[in-house]
């Protein structure tokens, strides 16, 4: 399955996790996500997600001025963001376990149907 499709539901979680580890500016966060294995993540998706999390109060942001280049906007996690991260981590683990169970143990159901037929 296409990773971008899967990412849609969990990009918030991934971004929060990365920012919790260390404050970062947009592309820095993209890079860390890619290094972490989400090779296909689009930078615009990440920037948009950062903006949405910021608007929701999960992230804080500050601008680091630069003398010769453009200013960088750094993001850090807020207490509300930590809460959200903890909650979504739990949800994800439960979801992943459920799905794992579904993927690894389909045999009995198939067998039962086969038997009844």
């Amino acid at each position: 399955m296409d990773q971008t499709q899967l990412l849609k539901g969990v990009l918030d979680l991934a971004v929060l996790a990365v920012v919790q580890a260390e404050d970062g500016y947009g592309y820095d966060i993209v890079r860390r996500l890619r290094e972490g294995g989400l090779a296909d993540v689009g930078d615009a998706s990440v920037y948009g997600t950062l903006r949405r999390l910021y608007a929701a109060g999960a992230l804080t942001s500050y601008v680091v001025p630069s003398e010769s280049g453009p200013h960088r906007k750094y993001y850090g996690i807020t207490p509300m963001g930590r809460e959200q991260l903890a909650r979504q981590r739990r949800d994800w683990r439960a979801f992943a376990t459920t799905l794992d169970g579904l993927l690894s143990g389909p045999a009995p159901a198939t067998a039962a149907r086969g038997a009844s037929a």
Partner: protein, 356 residues
């Protein structure tokens, strides 16, 4: 790592500017929030992966919006779903146009243009009035006051009526203005396009007319002021009235200049307006006064008809008896006070010419 001191590449600047434009419909705060620091991020990205990393700004803006949970770009139909129905087509075009002019760079200009909309109503009213004026009886393509070719009062009335109509349509108070129905919108579109097309045509014809009139006048002036003809006090001499020293009018005076050349008096339309003297069957134009027609005769056949032609008498010439020391006195010893007789003679002369 000193990543804060990267200069911004021009392609990055352009890309970010385009993305900002595509987000122009968002509140300024959202837009700023969404694109702040974008230059820095993209500069990093480009320095790491090359200019190809930028990609399509429209797709980029869409992704940015979607991820930020903002409305997807409004007022724009997806390309695949373009409507071909006549009823929806105007909306589609209008939407695309609205999106285009909502860019910050164009928006200011567009605002001014929208404010000038009544001026367009006036202009198209004028176009309509000119087209109407053609149907007014007695229209001729000459003269330009309110409308070319009609009486100024009629022209003003037509123009006012068209102005009122155009403004009412523009304000949506009169059909087909302001209606949502497809026929009304189509009619309005056709009318506006027709006005746009008609304007340069009308303008071109007026230009041409005024140019041809100008050049005609110029040529006439050139002809008058040029090598030909005789000038008197800045005006061209068209005819000469000769009197003798006693104030008696002379007929058939042949005039020559100091070099013995025939005095060549010529005005515009001289041949058509004057009856020249003849030497056998050769015309002589230096014999005065020249007969004058009341109507120009521009063909040989017309010139045969001498109805209304006469030898002229100048309106305001006073003809006192005069002397010159070189002329013997007895020549001027004629009775004065001959004005009444003069008049009589002239009139009879006119009759002679008419009867010819």
């Amino acid at each position: 790592m000193n990543t804060t001191e990267l200069p911004v590449r021009p392609d990055v600047t352009a890309f970010v500017a385009r993305v900002r434009e595509l987000l122009a419909d968002l509140p300024e705060e959202d837009r700023l929030e969404l694109t702040e620091g974008l230059e820095a991020d993209l500069t990093d990205q480009v320095s790491e992966r090359g200019g190809g990393a930028l990609g399509d700004p429209e797709a980029y803006a869409r992704e940015l919006r979607a991820a930020a949970g903002l409305d997807p770009a409004p007022r724009r139909r997806p390309q695949g779903q373009r409507s071909t129905s006549l009823a929806e087509q105007p909306d589609a075009v209008r939407d695309r146009w609205a999106t285009m002019v909502s860019r910050p760079t164009i928006a200011t200009v567009w605002t001014v243009l929208v404010a000038l909309r009544p001026a367009w109503w006036a202009v198209r009213a004028w176009a309509a009035a000119v087209l109407l004026a053609v149907f007014v009886p007695g229209w001729y393509d000459y003269g330009f006051v309110w409308l070319p070719g009609v009486h100024p009062v009629a022209g003003l009335l037509i123009l006012l009526a068209c102005l009122a109509g155009s403004a009412l349509v523009g304000l949506g108070k009169v059909w087909p203005g302001g209606r949502r129905g497809t026929p009304a919108r189509m009619v309005l579109l056709v009318l506006n396009v027709a006005a746009v097309v008609a304007l340069p045509v009308i303008n071109g014809q007026l230009d041409q007319q005024s140019w041809s009139r100008f050049s005609q006048g110029y040529n006439e002036a050139q002809a008058g002021a040029g090598a030909r003809g005789v000038m008197n006090g800045g005006q061209e001499v068209c005819n000469i009235a000769a009197y003798d020293a006693a104030g008696q009018p002379l007929v058939g005076v042949q005039l020559f200049d100091q070099a013995g050349r025939q005095l060549d008096v010529r005005c515009y339309d001289q041949v058509a307006l004057k009856v020249p003297w003849m030497l056998g069957d050769v015309t002589r134009w230096n014999v005065y006064p020249l007969g004058e027609r009341d109507r120009p005769a521009r063909s040989e056949r017309r010139r045969q008809d001498l109805t209304g032609a006469a030898l002229p008498t100048p309106d305001r010439a006073t003809t006192p008896a005069v002397t010159n020391p070189l002329v013997p006195v007895e020549a001027e010893a004629r009775p004065s006070g001959t004005t009444d007789r003069d008049r009589g003679e002239r009139d009879s002369r006119r009759g002679d010419v008419s009867r010819r």
